[in-house]
């Protein structure tokens, strides 16, 4: 295997980088380095400023202060082309791939082969085949990116970064959308690249991965470097460095005391507007007083299932009952009246009105109660806001009149949950309840969800984060291509869950993992 990166390549240093957006200092005099032959983990919470720093290193943003040095030579990076020319490559958190283009087209975009402005797709395809063979990452050059599963899309993204023979590779939160097996594969790829003499910067907030793969660890909090750590450092220690105080990583809950069946889904079929079957003859029961987690890789029908239960999507067939009442074809106004609380997957678009105040967002689902003769009862709304803010520890800039969009992710999610839990529920559906939420808030949100369960509510959680699924669930339903692959207890080994998330039945998954111990 031809090794092209040199072991004696110079060290890439960021020195005293500061970047401000208005009054927010995203990066405050940060210094880190990328050493060839080592994996450097950049650990920090959402919003700590990791991605901003990497976007500066990749030439997407310009720093207000500080310098970037390659060896002893200062680099000016004002656009990604210069970064790529300097040997820097980046695998982006949100894949920078164009869904309607083929793999080959994506691979050459910006550096197209061909003479006189003509597009030479034959050599683009050859390039993809070359790279695939060289790094043993198999992809079909003619496949449309949108038809590929996310794991393969990430391969394309990695190959794209390697296409310019990058010596310094940035991986920005690369594991967020992968199954455990795919994560293992990715870690192996990262190690191979390191052993070839490349410098890797691995950005993440997942402690387990850091400990597994890092050679060096730098922890960032609120835009500042708060310290270095060795890979042997315990998870609890890393977590407290990241958050700034001791955190409890475990969810404390008593064993579930399930009651009667509350949500019963029978043979449900939901099609996406394009006609693809998203939920495929799915049956599921959630009892009062238990938390059922839907685990699975994003895009396997979880979104459509949640929307069909709420009533924003029309099921094609099947039956849904809540406490015995048929809600199959009910509209959201009716399902909410029937006692359904809903925390949507994308809170910015569907969870709140960003331009409205905290107080108004807290009563959006129950305006009848907070108005008199069609006019808003402002005093009642204000009193409610004060009570909820206290109860849910919503941290704001000083007033309940503050716009929700200006809150941090965790506090926005608290607003959504506070609103949904402000009335008696028979069913709570929460999709990705802690996505983009800081560790401190995760603790709180999980606690509230468990409390709701103990009140006898049926709780259905949709999550792609296995840690969350394992710690919250009383039962795990693994979903793959619109079907439930199996329902398993929360202490099921991760390998088995991973295989099930790729569509392997439980028995077979258990047999496979036993046959090839990790």
């Amino acid at each position: 295997m031809p090794v092209t990166a040199q072991h004696d390549a110079p060290v890439l240093r960021l020195r005293g980088i500061t970047k401000r957006f208005g009054s927010l200092t995203a990066n405050d005099s940060i210094s880190i380095e990328a050493v060839p032959g080592r994996i450097h983990c950049l650990l920090g919470e959402n919003g700590a400023g990791k991605s901003t720093l990497m976007n500066i290193l990749f030439g997407l943003l310009e720093p207000d202060e500080g310098e970037i040095l390659l060896g002893d030579k200062a680099l000016t990076l004002t656009n990604p082309k210069q970064a790529m020319a300097a040997g820097i490559g980046m695998v982006h958190q949100h894949f920078m791939l164009i869904p309607v283009f083929t793999v080959a087209e994506n691979m050459v975009l910006g550096h197209e082969p061909g003479r006189a402005g003509m597009l030479d797709l034959a050599s683009a395809r050859a390039l993809v085949r070359d790279l695939s063979a060289r790094y043993k990452l198999d992809v079909d050059p003619d496949a449309l990116v949108e038809d590929l599963p996310v794991g393969i899309q990430q391969r394309v993204e990695i190959l794209k970064a390697l296409a310019h023979d990058a010596t310094y590779l940035i991986f920005d939160e690369p594991t967020a959308v992968l199954t455990p097996q795919e994560i293992d594969e990715l870690m192996a790829v990262m190690r191979t690249l390191r052993d070839e003499g490349r410098a890797i910067i691995f950005i993440t907030h997942k402690l387990r991965e850091v400990r597994e793969v890092a050679d060096d660890i730098t922890v960032i909090r609120r835009g500042k470097v708060v310290g270095q750590a060795a890979p042997e450092t315990s998870e609890a220690e890393l977590a407290s460095m990241m958050v700034g105080r001791a955190v409890d990583l475990k969810v404390h809950k008593a064993p579930a005391q399930p009651g009667d069946d509350r949500l019963v889904v029978e043979d449900l079929v939901v099609a996406s507007p394009t006609g693809a079957i998203a939920v495929d003859h799915l049956s599921l029961t959630v009892r009062g007083g238990e938390i059922v987690c839907i685990a699975g890789v994003q895009g396997n029908g979880q979104t459509e299932l949640a929307e069909a239960l709420l009533g924003t999507m029309r099921p094609l067939s099947g039956r849904v009952t809540l406490d015995g009442v048929d809600i199959t074809h009910s509209k959201p106004v009716d399902t909410i009246k029937a006692g359904l609380g809903y925390v949507p997957e994308d809170r910015h678009r569907h969870g709140f009105v960003g331009e409205f105040s905290i107080a108004h967002n807290l009563v959006l689902n129950n305006l009848d109660e907070y108005s008199k003769f069609g006019a808003l009862d402002l005093k009642k709304i204000r009193d409610n806001a004060q009570a909820r803010i206290k109860e849910f520890d919503i941290r704001h800039g000083g007033s309940h009149d503050q716009e929700v969009r200006s809150l941090s992710g965790g506090n926005q999610q608290k607003v959504v949950l506070a609103r949904e839990l402000s009335r008696p529920l028979s069913l709570l559906i929460a999709s990705q309840p802690t996505r983009g939420v800081d560790v401190g808030a995760i603790e709180f949100l999980h606690g509230r969800i468990v409390e709701e369960r103990d009140r006898g509510t049926a709780v259905l959680i949709v999550s792609t984060e296995l840690e969350e699924v394992e710690s919250l669930a009383d039962r795990i339903a693994v979903m793959y291509r619109g079907r439930i692959v199996g329902i398993v207890p929360p202490d099921t080994p991760r390998d088995v869950l991973g295989l099930m998330m790729a569509g392997v039945a439980y028995d077979e998954a258990v047999a496979t993992t036993k046959g090839a111990p990790a």
């Binding site: 943003l61 656009n79 164009i98 910006g110 496949a143 393969i152 099609a271 507007p273 090839a516």
Partner: protein
């Protein structure tokens, strides 16, 4: 893991979603209603229809067809009804449904033409109908290309009408002064590019909503041309408002091919230019590096940014090139057809019809050009039948192209996928 269990592509069963079901049924009902209308029309005629295959000026005279009236219209009506029922019952596969759609379209056309011929004492001249189709489609072809280029780059272009109008005025004024078609077309293209420049500047630099700035450009074009017309042209029509319109250029040799010669090879130079521009734009978009970049900034500008593409300039270049085509299209309304610019809405909504054709053509230059031809055909039909003194008011027939636009956009297009970032602003994010 030794076994690769992750599939490399996702394949899923497809069914009909509630949305497409609604659309299928409404399309079916629409086709059925038209079928019933044709059925009724079949019994209003009592003689055969004359369809002429050549006109009085043709070098080669072809026979005039004598088509039975009631029988043909009845047959067409049944064809349309069959297609409509096929849609409603949902028994047709996707391929058959396409065939049924085409059959319904053909049935409506044949049925209406034969009915018109049979209701009139004059023959229906097919050659002049098709010749006029190309003539009327000329500005639409250019407009469609302008729209496709801008929207593929992610800029919503509802300013085609304004570009047309400004260019029409610029062409007229320039021709009056220079008496040169080349200079007039050059001025028209320049006017189109300038209006496109306004669109690019405000959408890309100042991040104004694309639709709002489009409306503003259309109003600006109308105000600007009206003002200069009143202040300059109207005061000295001899110097600034005298245009001899472009004449058809017969392609030597090809013009004498029977039937096709008088349709395809007896057109104005602007029409030939418009037809040639369609494959050119297709080639630019799908076979060049520039085209790949234009499509990438229209789909996912941030991805384009991360590979070092200058997103704003790429978008701007596509919008400006679109402006050039819209300018040439605008020239049709003065030097290309009627002559001097009149301050009476000469472009008559053609920019918006072009926009409809862009959407119906799914942002593909070739499909959109075919849609432009369809609208040209509808307008030509109104013109051809107006002279035949039909038993329906000519105002109604004049309405046909617009009616066709509404039906086509609302009923037959349904869900189409626009470039993903069409109409969105590109701001570098952190």
């Amino acid at each position: 893991m030794s076994v690769d269990i992750v599939p490399t592509t996702v394949e899923r069963a497809r069914v009909e979603s509630p949305e497409s079901r609604t659309q299928r049924i409404s399309t079916g009902v629409l086709i059925t209603v038209i079928g019933v209308l044709l059925l009724w029309m079949a019994f209003t005629v009592d003689k055969s229809g004359q369809i002429a295959l050549s006109d009085a000026f043709a070098d080669v005279k072809l026979p005039t067809l004598d088509v039975p009236g009631t029988a043909t219209v009845l047959l067409s009506a049944l064809l349309v009804l069959g297609a409509g029922v096929g849609f409603i019952t949902g028994r047709l596969s996707a391929r058959l449904r396409f065939v049924a759609g085409v059959a319904a379209g053909a049935g409506v056309l044949v049925g209406f033409i034969v009915w018109a011929a049979a209701s009139s004492s004059l023959p229906f001249t097919l050659t002049s109908q098709l010749n006029l189709t190309l003539e009327y489609a000329t500005p639409l072809l250019f407009g469609v290309l302008s729209g496709v280029l801008a929207e593929r780059a992610g800029v919503v272009n509802i300013a085609i009408e304004g570009m047309f109008l400004t260019a029409a005025f610029a062409a007229s004024l320039t021709f009056s002064i220079t008496h040169s078609f080349v200079a007039a077309l050059f001025a028209a293209a320049l006017a189109g590019v300038m209006m496109a420049g306004v669109l690019a500047l405000f959408t890309l630099r100042y991040l104004v909503d694309h639709v709002i700035i489009g409306v503003v450009i259309n109003l600006l074009a109308s105000g600007l041309t009206g003002f200069i017309y009143q202040q300059l042209v109207a005061k000295n029509l001899a110097a600034y408002g005298t245009v001899q319109p472009m004449q058809a250029w017969r392609v030597p040799g090809l013009e004498s091919i029977p039937f096709l010669g008088p349709i395809l090879f007896t057109q104005k130079p602007l029409t030939y230019l418009g037809i040639l521009a369609v494959p050119l734009v297709w080639f630019l978009l799908f076979r060049t590096t520039w085209g790949l970049r234009v499509r990438s900034v229209g789909e996912h500008p941030h991805a384009a940014d991360t590979v070092g593409i200058n997103v704003v300039w790429t978008k701007a270049s596509a919008v400006l090139l679109g402006g050039l085509f819209a300018g040439l299209g605008g020239a049709y309304f003065t030097v290309g057809s009627v002559g001097a610019f009149q301050d009476n809405n000469p472009t008559a909504g053609n920019g918006f019809i072009a926009l409809a054709a862009v959407i119906m053509g799914r942002w593909n230059p070739v499909l959109a050009a075919l849609m432009a031809l369809f609208f040209g055909f509808a307008r030509a039909l109104a013109q051809t039948t107006k002279l035949m003194q039909l038993p329906i008011p000519s105002d109604f027939i004049e309405m046909l192209p617009y009616l066709a636009t509404i039906i086509a956009v609302a009923g037959l297009v349904g869900r189409v996928r626009a470039p993903a970032a069409d109409g969105m602003h590109f701001v570098k994010s952190h």
